[in-house]
């Protein structure tokens, strides 16, 4: 009876083949598709590049031009959505887009170039303007001027302050 049973089952089941690529398919809520950076929101902090397991997001700093480049390469992305989880500005998110095939590798890159601010002490570009503004919102007013300095100059200043304070205390 077995093999006839299978034949009846196939007939009773009807068509199971979907019409794709001639008709779109439905995707469930929470599908992890193409990651997209919103260039207006991105602050260039680099948290996504730090957590990305395959290093599909890479950060390059061009000190001469004063730009920080965030380069998202879809051709290496594993669609794990860790970047979405850690982004403090909610700038990167995974869309439902899965039709990502491209005829050249260049088409798989999304590049965001952000302007960097020069240090008030040494004049070296050290962080993006947007990231500094983002931090400034969270800092108390009296600490904000510290943001004008790069980490090196800031450390020097801090040690100077402490020396002065210690001397006064004595």
């Amino acid at each position: 009876m077995g093999r006839f049973g299978l034949i009846f089952k196939s007939i009773a089941k009807g068509r199971v083949t979907e019409k794709y690529p001639f008709a779109p398919i439905e995707l469930p809520e929470g599908f992890r598709g193409k990651p997209e950076i919103d260039p207006e929101k991105c602050i260039g902090c680099g948290a996504c590049a730090t957590v990305c397991p395959p290093s599909a997001i890479q950060i390059h700093v061009d000190e001469e031009q004063g730009y920080k480049t965030i380069d998202l390469f879809l051709g290496r992305c594993i669609f794990c959505a860790r970047c979405e989880e850690v982004c403090p500005a909610e700038a990167i998110r995974l869309t439902k887009e899965f039709e990502l095939a491209a005829a050249s590798e260049e088409d798989l890159h999304q590049v965001v170039k952000l302007k960097m601010a020069k240090c008030a002490g040494c004049g070296r570009p050290f962080d993006t303007v947007r990231h500094l503004q983002f931090i400034a919102e969270k800092l108390p007013e009296e600490q904000k001027p510290m943001l004008a300095l790069c980490p090196d100059c800031r450390a020097k200043l801090a040690s100077k302050i402490l020396t002065v304070a210690a001397r006064r205390h004595r």
Partner: protein, 540 residues
């Protein structure tokens, strides 16, 4: 009882908890201790060579033994300062490749090893460069050296059938050489490790603790999630973490979904190899629904990417839970109906009955795992013997068949499909409320951890030593096919060449997980003597 044996051989206990025990022994005591353990029911689970110079020690070898009876994993450590260690392969054949792996990757020398040859690294890899030593950078690419010609000379007295590395019957690049006498197989040879991707070094080098689960998941595209769970269990074991209850249940749900899709896939592939393509299509049609469930719960059909050291990244909401429960009920009915029709086909059953037999004694000696062991009458299952996640709170049966043939392996997996449906229904309806992730934890450095899970193909054992700055110092996964593959030559013994594809497929081999060399001679496995010699002996 274990303590008595250990005390007899002067083992020093380094660390212990309810599930595992770490001891150190003197290198002179290692071989007698291993022999004694093997006699008292332990099998060889994993072997890891570690360059411990970064921890202030020398090189060391960790042998992991497991026992279902004692419900214990035993980690035996031996240190060496001159790279020389005694080999335990003469007393436990299962440690053969673990030791050869350490030779290849670390340059350790095992005195008394019967087959000290290259196993993993490609033939054009220069001698004396050991990727797992700490001075080697993970992204260093040494110059190609000239490939040696094949070590086995062409022979005229037997018919050699080369199979691979690219062959229509293989979905992964592997090289088999099958020797036949008329229609009957007399010998099989295998060169693997085409898929060595250097992931252990990558985990130590570039990735952080919370990135390794994503790497572990890519050990295998079919049963990857269980690897990432095993890794996180190992780190949790090293750091003494305990996941929230709800995360444990979600872990069980996803593991069982993975088992369902893997077994349905396997059943389909077996039917395809038997020339029964309508069965193949029916099975994969049913499997498509399982993939839809996975996609709805995790956001991806495969590589779920949901697990971190602290727990699960996504929760299952109420409406989705009910939808999954409803779909599962339909699926279970459909599977049962289709299988009833399929098992009613006498010609199919007769085709796979009595071929590829693996007797129980051979199965135990080789330490085979999972469905292959259960089809040979060995009652073993990590979910029951060494419970992890929420398995100790759920009710399930472990199917065991004594026949040891391909039919028994099909029946074991079919029963497991049905048990998976039951487990899923229980886990989904009994899932407690609460958090799914702990974020507040610290991982101490230099601690040893062990994680074991029951993958669709058998037991996965992951060994971890934690490092500083949220990195792993050493991570070594062991996949079940590693232990199951040597049983293939025994199964092939005396069968027809036409049955070879189905017999090889019946262990559900996963070459991206594993690779290894085995030689069979007139049905007897030759463990001793180098590869070329073994082949020479076959000539009559």
């Amino acid at each position: 009882m274990v303590d008595k044996i250990l005390a007899e051989y002067g083992a020093v206990v380094l660390d212990r908890n309810a599930k595992r025990l770490v001891v150190q022994v003197d290198d002179k005591q290692l071989r007698p201790l291993a022999e004694k353990l093997f006699e008292s029911g332990f099998y060889y689970a994993n072997g890891v060579g570690v360059d411990e110079r970064g921890l202030g020690h020398d090189f060391a070898m960790y042998h992991v033994f497991a026992s279902e009876k004692d419900k214990l994993y035993l980690v035996v450590k031996v240190s060496t300062s001159n790279l020389k260690l005694p080999s335990i392969t003469p007393v436990i054949p299962g440690s053969n490749w673990a030791e050869r792996e350490a030779m290849d990757m670390l340059g350790l020398e095992f005195e008394g090893h019967p087959e000290p040859e290259r196993l993993i690294l490609p033939d054009d890899w220069p001698k004396g460069v050991y990727p797992l030593r700490k001075e080697f950078d993970y992204n260093e690419r040494p110059e190609f050296v000239e490939r040696k010609p094949e070590s086995t000379p062409q022979r005229t007295d037997v018919v050699q059938l080369p199979l691979g590395p690219y062959h229509p019957a293989l979905h992964e690049p592997e090289y088999f050489e099958i020797h036949v006498d008329g229609e009957v197989i007399t010998d099989a040879k295998y060169r693997g490790f085409h898929i060595h991707r250097g992931m252990e070094k990558l985990a130590e080098g570039r990735l952080t603790l919370n990135q390794v689960p994503f790497l572990a998941e890519r050990i295998c595209g079919i049963c990857g999630f269980t690897h990432s769970i095993a890794y996180c269990q190992a780190v949790a074991d090293a750091a003494g973490l305990d996941w929230p209850e709800r995360a444990k249940y979600i872990g069980v749900i996803l593991l069982e979904i993975e088992r369902l899709h893997s077994h349905l896939l396997w059943v389909g592939v077996v039917f395809h190899l038997l020339g029964f393509d309508s069965g193949f299509m029916h099975m994969w049609r049913i499997r498509e629904k399982v993939m839809d469930i996975a996609e709805a719960l995790t956001g991806n059909r495969k590589t779920y990417g949901l697990v971190l050291i602290g727990g699960m990244r996504r929760d299952i909401d109420e409406s989705r839970k009910n939808w999954v429960l409803k779909t599962l009920t339909e699926l279970r009915e459909e599977t049962e109906r289709v299988s009833k029709d399929i098992f009613g086909m006498k010609e199919l059953i007769n085709r796979i009955k009595g071929i590829g037999v693996l007797p129980k004694e051979d199965a135990r000696a080789l330490g085979v795992l999972g469905p292959v062991a259960r089809a040979s009458g060995i009652d073993t299952d990590v979910r029951r013997d060494h419970p992890y996640l929420a398995y100790d709170k759920l009710d399930f049966k472990v199917p065991v068949y004594p026949e040891g043939d391909v039919l028994a392996r099909l029946l074991v997996r079919y029963d497991e499909i049905i048990e998976s449906f039951r487990l899923l229904e229980q886990a989904l309806s009994e899932m407690p409320q609460g958090d799914v992730m702990i974020e507040d934890y610290t991982i101490p450095s230099g601690r040893v951890g062990l994680g074991a899970t029951e993958a669709p193909r058998g037991e996965d054992v992951h060994f971890v030593i934690t490092g500083v700055e949220s990195k792993v110092y050493r991570w070594h996964p062991r996949a079940p096919t590693y232990n199951n593959l040597p049983s293939v030559p025994i199964m092939l013994r005396g069968n027809n060449i036409a049955d070879a594809p189905i017999i090889i497929a019946s262990i559900d081999p996963c070459f991206s997980c594993t690779d290894h060399v085995a030689i069979v001679r007139k049905g007897k496995v030759i463990w001793k003597g180098p590869l070329g010699e073994g082949v020479k002996q076959v000539g009559r």
